[in-house]
């Protein structure tokens, strides 16, 4: 989308520089002139919000690492030391811990935006796949980060989650030992998790760069799903989108600040204020809220299937629930992107959203009785949505007529 450039350096130094490293030209084209559909709504600000949170996490994380001690006997107290004795430590620590939650909150909205507006469809499949890679990295990073304070939940979450890998046939055991650095979760686990928790965010950052590169080739999708036809359909990124994104970021910071300053522990679990103890298992081992839907799926499989044990089955469905996202661009055959124009798709989509919220709820409940039954129903619908509903609906549905262009749809709106 970067056609002919509007960057015309006049000053000889700038010209000289541009011929050697055209970074200013690049920035002008991609951060200022980049043509963006003028009808994108506030759901499109979450990409910028995610960038912002990523930077916040890296900056606060680097500061925390200056004071944190990755040693099983000292980790717990070192985090308390940060909260108590480091200047602004309580705030920095709370921003980082709650930042992880805000990050997932934003990424879920970002993903569901994509699922509704069909942003994963051609020509944006790679963009979507990179998104799923980012999501997997985020899960790994936050899981390892949660282990670092070495509280009871840290320890037992680490035990339960690494145990999942142990269920894989043949390679499971070696993977388990590799992850834990031994047979049980211990100091070796803590030190390698810290090392990786520091490394992976930079890998994530690199994948985000690719994500944005893949965005800037086809350009943004938009709420109508109709491709940009002429320059009348777009506005330059700066100042239109930059200003809108900045406004959204500030609004997003308000609930973020609410959690940090007024309820910094509300999203955590009281048990994590008890130092890790391998001799005492907590009554309920509950993962962080953002893992709950997938945790519910893991636990929904409590029966053996042929030669597959229930444990391995749970792992297959758990892994499958994420891997399946990679294939969404090919499972949904509809040529119409935006859900707005797909009458049959829409109810199934909203049911999927509700189902996902239900799974989140169920992940925090005991796996028994009605909760277990509902988890099974929820798991079935989760997979049916991707494997049956999207392929079938896209074949039998008659979409509503699409607007001829973005500009036309905008004018149509005004008439209403």
């Amino acid at each position: 989308m970067s056609g002919q450039s509007s960057y015309n350096p006049t000053n000889p130094v700038e010209k000289w520089f541009d011929e050697r490293l055209p970074i200013l030209r690049f920035s002008k084209e991609h951060l200022m002139d980049f043509p963006t559909p003028k009808n994108i709504n506030y759901w499109w600000t979450f990409g910028a919000i995610l960038m912002f949170v990523l930077v916040i996490q890296i900056v606060t994380g680097v500061v925390l690492a200056m004071h944190y001690v990755a040693d099983a006997s000292m980790a717990f107290d070192s985090v308390e030391h940060i909260r108590r004795n480091v200047n602004y430590g309580r705030i920095i620590q709370a921003v980082h811990a709650n930042g992880a939650s805000m990050f997932f909150f934003a990424v879920y909205l970002h993903i569901f935006r994509g699922l509704y507006y069909g942003s994963y469809k051609a020509p944006r499949e790679i963009l979507w796949i990179l998104g799923v890679v980012i999501f997997v990295l985020m899960m790994a990073i936050s899981f390892m980060g949660y282990v670092l304070p070495w509280g009871q939940m840290s320890f037992w979450a680490a035990t339960v989650i690494t145990d999942i890998f142990g269920a894989i046939p043949i390679v499971g055991e070696p993977i388990l030992v590799l992850l834990r650095g031994g047979f049980a979760v211990d100091n070796a686990t803590l030190t390698r998790f810290f090392s990786l928790h520091y490394l992976l965010p930079f890998v994530l950052l690199a994948v985000v760069m690719l994500h944005i590169w893949a965005l800037h080739v086809p350009g943004n999708n938009n709420p109508t799903g109709v491709e940009v036809k002429s320059s009348r359909d777009t506005v330059p990124f700066h100042p239109y989108i930059t200003m809108k994104d900045l406004f959204a970021i500030v609004v997003f910071m308000i609930p973020f600040a609410w959690f940090v300053f007024f309820a910094p522990d509300i999203l955590g679990h009281p048990d994590n204020y008890i130092q890790a103890n391998s001799q005492i298992t907590p009554a309920h081992i509950v993962p962080e809220w953002y893992f709950l839907p997938f945790y519910a799926i893991l636990r929904a499989i409590d029966f053996d299937m042929l030669f597959i044990s229930s444990k391995l089955g749970g792992v297959i469905f758990f892994g499958g629930s994420i891997v399946i996202l990679f294939f969404v661009p090919w499972l949904d055959g509809s040529k119409v992107r935006s859900g707005t124009f797909r009458p049959l798709f829409k109810p199934f989509y909203w049911l999927f959203v509700l189902n996902f919220l239900m799974l989140t709820y169920l992940g925090a409940q005991g796996a028994e009785g009605i909760f277990l039954l509902l988890s099974k129903v929820g798991t079935a619908y989760y997979f049916a949505y991707f494997l049956l509903i999207l392929p079938i609906v896209s074949r039998i549905e008659t979409p509503n007529p699409l607007p001829a262009s973005i500009s036309e749809s905008v004018l149509g709106n005004k008439g209403e």
Binding site: N41, R90, V250, F262, D271, A283, T360
Partner: protein, 280 residues
């Protein structure tokens, strides 16, 4: 109504919806089956909450005279007792207090010395084994962050409101209710040796009732020397130990959010101005 305000509403709704998904993580802690907890109105609750330094001083007195013989507080230093937002003892008082305690110091020829304000609160037992030995096998947990390691469980939908009220006092509420609910066990329950029945837990624990009416002598007669009063005071003190910067954190939060609201309003106006020449 123009389109951007509609989508903004959608955004807020979406946020509330997605949050209600997160809500289900309300601490499912301590499978409490006993009596319903009585929630207290703490001075440090809410967005303007701060500790009452007189209450913290009373709480410290209960801690020092009763609980400290079994429970440690390794992350609290003597000097914290004179810091802003805390019990506000004077520096001289803290110095004198510290001097009453002995610190083991293997670097010294004597092997020990009097504590200074910079020292941490000394443990009542030298090792965990000693502690268990004197407490019928149970370990009295360290108080440093204990107030944040407990919570009360609430029924749906009450816990859901906590996200909007910022209720973070589950720990002190738990401690208060634990301490005031030492009663005789029901007839059909056999309480094992070394254990005591607690109606709040709906079970037994290895700590006998530590408080009795009049066990601590408060200065003056403004505050009753009852188990309820002691319990509230020690619970508040334990919360301060666990979260010593609560007041300054909340003050900073109030300033930050006020600033963000104003900034957001201004940004919105600028954004509207910029977009005013675009049909969208």
């Amino acid at each position: 109504m123009n389109k951007s305000s509609i989508t903004l509403k959608g955004l807020v709704l979406g946020a509330v919806m997605a949050l209600s998904g997160g809500l289900s993580t309300a601490p499912a802690s301590a499978a409490v089956v006993g009596v319903e907890p009585e929630l207290q109105s703490w001075t440090f609750a809410g967005i303007f909450g701060k500790y009452d330094s007189n209450q913290l001083q009373r709480g410290f007195q209960v801690f020092q005279e009763v609980c400290a013989s079994c429970h440690g507080a390794r992350l609290m230093s003597f000097r914290n007792l004179s810091e802003e937002g805390g019990p506000l003892f004077s520096e001289d008082q803290v110095k004198a207090l510290a001097a009453e305690y002995i610190i083991m110091d293997p670097e010294l020829v004597e092997g020990e010395r009097a504590a200074t304000p910079a020292d941490g609160w000394p443990n009542p037992f030298e090792t965990e084994r000693d502690a268990r030995g004197s407490n019928s096998g149970a370990f009295p947990p360290d108080f440093s962050v204990l107030a944040k390691a407990r919570g009360v469980s609430q029924k749906f939908p009450f816990w859901a409101f906590n996200y909007f009220t910022g209720y973070q006092e589950g720990g002190p509420d738990y401690i208060y209710n634990l301490l005031v609910n030492y009663v005789d066990a029901p007839h059909d329950v056999e309480v094992p040796e070394g254990q005591s029945w607690n109606a709040y837990l709906g079970g037994t624990l290895a700590m006998g009732p530590p408080l009795f009416e009049g066990i601590v002598d408060y200065e003056g007669d403004v505050f009753p020397e009852t188990v309820e009063q002691y319990s509230a005071d020690i619970a508040a003190f334990m919360m301060w130990m666990a979260e010593p910067h609560l007041a300054s954190r909340k003050e900073m939060g109030f300033r930050t959010i006020t600033f963000l609201l104003l900034l957001a309003g201004m940004m919105y106006l600028v954004k509207r101005k910029i977009w005013s020449n675009v049909e969208h």
